[in-house]
């Protein structure tokens, strides 16, 4: 595997940070609930629940 340059490595690490999707999906779930958008809310909860099993096999 090619060695990444330091800035590219930092960007890659930042973009693949596991907490990023959690924060985005959490905001989506709460915002959808506040707007009474039940389908979107449950979809966001579904994605959150799936992601919460990260690392589990």
């Amino acid at each position: 595997m090619l060695q990444l340059t330091a800035p590219a490595g930092r960007v890659r690490r930042g973009l693949t940070e596991p907490l990023l999707p959690v924060a985005a999906l959490a905001l989506l779930a709460v915002a959808a609930a506040a707007l009474d958008a039940a389908v979107l809310c449950w979809a966001a909860v579904g994605a959150l629940a799936g992601f919460a099993l990260s690392g589990s096999v």
């Binding site: 595997m1 990444l4 890659r12 690490r13 973009l15 693949t16 596991p18 907490l19 999707p21 959690v22 924060a23 999906l25 959490a26 905001l27 779930a29 709460v30 959808a32 609930a33 506040a34 009474d36 039940a38 389908v39 809310c41 449950w42 979809a43 966001a44 909860v45 579904g46 994605a47 959150l48 629940a49 799936g50 992601f51 919460a52 099993l53 990260s54 690392g55 589990s56 096999v57």
Partner: protein, 186 residues
Amino acid sequence: MLFSPGWRAPIRQGEVLAVFSLGLVLGGTLSAGVVWLASGLAAPVPTSARALLTVLVAAVAAAREAGLVRLPLLQNSRQIPQEVLMHRLRTGSLQFGFEMGTGVRTYVSASSPYVLALGLLLAHMSAPATLLAGVAFGVGRALSAALTYWARSPDRDMLIAARMTWVKNITALSVLTAVTLLLVVG
């Protein structure tokens, strides 16, 4: 596990990820379908009781993740045999993803999937809405694998292990907030 180099090198890892992700989504959709079929049984229960029960379970899940209560989770306490990946990598990845995507074939290491399943069961929404949540569950699991693939880091497992407490707590608290807003406040 899916993206280690070596014996599977002749097959592109991106292809393995795509097939595995498809399996995850199909598995999540199947489980959501079963939940939707069963959700009719909850229809006679008053809406307010179903809402309160969902919020109560979400609160217990959040308390469990925070370590405030000790509660064993019902789960299939075993791993999917790695032999499914040994011989035919594409179909094996699909099967592996499908079994993981159902959420009932292996360990469940977080409380939130239970809130999702019970919430969908009690919400008794339309079939497309319930199936969409199942698809999203599979996509959520696939996203984790995709990030691991894109990260290309030998330290990825350690990073995920270090973040999991945060991931599970933020998830449980946001799910509690969302269902409370949706079912009680809204």
